[in-house]
């Protein structure tokens, strides 16, 4: 017997209601039930940070929360960061600073930094490095990711 529950969630401003298998992680729910495949799964045990999404504004690992636990919550995924065709300042900064190569880890970095810069709008380099220490990138060596975070912080502060 498949154990299922009906849940209501708001994802990127849209409401969804439907059944979810209770053993599905939030990441699997987003990807398989809602087709939002921007949330990437790297390690599926909370180490790599690729699946980071915002739940009620807070960055969490979507592989370490069940989809059923998102009932009644507001979720922001990578698909919800841009405003139409205008990239979010953090996305824009990653593009301008070449903060990605293969892009697999990027959704997790972006959601992580959006949450971090909201709480700490003027971080120093050490704080940025600590904030992204829970996200693993195997391409870029983090240099440009840190540069992008700094640039994004500046743009967001000016807003």
């Amino acid at each position: 017997m498949v154990d299922q529950r009906n849940i209501d969630v708001n994802v990127n401003g849209k409401s969804y209601s439907g059944a979810v298998e209770t053993r599905f992680s939030l990441a699997d729910f987003l990807r398989e039930n809602l087709g939002l495949t921007g949330t990437h799964l790297g390690c599926e045990h909370g180490v790599c940070g690729a699946c980071t999404v915002l739940v009620d504004g807070e960055a969490i690992r979507a592989c370490l929360m069940l989809g059923v636990q998102a009932n009644g919550k507001h979720i922001t995924t990578i698909e919800g960061l841009a405003d139409g065709n205008n990239l979010h300042p953090v996305q824009e900064a990653f593009w301008k600073n070449h903060g990605l190569q293969c892009g697999y880890c990027t959704p997790g970095f972006l959601t992580t930094l959006v949450a971090f810069l909201r709480e700490n709008p003027d971080p120093n380099e050490e704080e940025i490095r600590e904030a992204i220490s829970g996200n693993i990138c195997r391409c870029t060596g983090y240099q440009n990711i840190v540069a992008a975070a700094k640039a994004a912080a500046e743009v967001l502060r000016a807003k």
């Binding site: 498949v2 154990d3 529950r5 209770t22 053993r23 599905f24 992680s25 699997d28 599926e44 045990h45 909370g46 940070g49 980071t52 807070e58 960055a59 969490i60 690992r61 592989c63 370490l64 929360m65 069940l66 059923v68 636990q69 992580t112 971090f116 600590e130 904030a131 220490s133 829970g134």
Partner: protein, 289 residues
């Protein structure tokens, strides 16, 4: 990398929860999920029933009394870190919590979850050991209090029966100007420490030790308190000899070995960390109030 099928339960109150735990035979309690979810994803554990306790509001609180801080088992690590009363009364909690995982995992990880998972190198059990925390446990027949000394039954196994539920922890208060320090060593920030050491210290008006607690985590299967040594140094002044004798004392403890770090390496590391923590705690210890 997906959990095996299970039946999901989400009790809304403590009484519903203990009803469930008294009935279900192969259930796991899901707190913040930062340890259980990886273990289920990797199918290290495949419970028949998962009891999600995130909806039980009465398990989420920080309460101050005259002589203790009581913390509900479902209080998330982020809330502990941002609590100004913890910052003033038990600042070592802040210092240690900054080492716990990453901010994304601290947004979900709970104090009770960490104490029940009981990883040997985890910071929160080390703090509970340092404070001789009182663990408040409920089941259908009522409540009992377990001192942390008796909490660890075996490797990653608290002394809880299947029907028992950890409800809260009580940390006795130390003098406001006590010295404290929590240090650890890990290969990468946010990883489990290879070893960690915590020290709490109170000095009297002659700068002599009136109360002290020293804990080492990660060296063995559970946190080690140096209780005999603590008793020995009451009434002494802290100087280089005393710190050296602490390092000697650490050489006597049993340490474990694994594929990465030998027991002798752990022992040496534990000695170094105890030394650093003692020195820092002493710097921070004020005179009598």
């Amino acid at each position: 990398m997906k959990p095996a099928p299970f039946k999901y339960h989400d009790p809304q109150s403590l009484s519903e929860l203990v009803d469930l735990t008294s009935m279900l035979e192969d259930a796991k309690i899901l707190a913040g999920g930062q340890s259980l979810m990886p273990m289920m994803n990797m199918r290290f554990v495949t419970p028949e029933d998962v009891i999600d306790i995130n909806k039980i509001e009465e398990l989420n609180f920080i309460k101050l009394s005259d002589d203790a801080i009581d913390i509900g088992a479902m209080t998330v690590q982020r809330e502990l870190l941002s609590s100004s009363s913890i910052q003033t009364i038990a600042p070592i909690l802040n210092e240690a919590l900054a080492y716990v995982g990453h901010f994304q995992t601290r947004n979900r990880g709970t104090i009770g979850g960490s104490l029940c998972h009981l990883d040997p190198a985890a910071e929160l059990p080390a703090l509970a050991s340092l404070y001789d925390a009182q663990m408040v446990v409920h089941n259908k027949n009522g409540q009992r209090v377990i001192p942390f000394d008796e909490w660890s039954f075996a490797y990653m196994m608290p002394c809880l029966a299947p029907e028992d539920v950890l409800v809260s922890l009580s940390f006795p208060k130390w003098k406001l100007n006590h010295g404290y320090s929590f240090v650890e060593f890990a290969r990468r920030h946010g990883d489990f420490a290879i070893c960690a050491a915590g020290v709490l210290i109170e000095l009297d008006k002659n700068d002599e030790i009136s109360k002290v607690a020293i804990t080492i985590a990660g060296a063995d299967v559970k946190p080690i308190r140096l209780k005999a040594f603590e008793l020995d140094i009451i009434g002494q002044k802290v100087n280089e000899d005393l710190i050296r004798s602490a390092v000697e004392e650490v050489k006597k403890i049993e340490t474990m070995s694994d594929a990465y770090y030998s027991s002798s390496y752990r022992k040496r590391l534990a000695g170094t960390l105890v030394e650093r923590a003692l020195i820092k705690a002493l710097e921070r210890a004020g005179g009598p109030t």
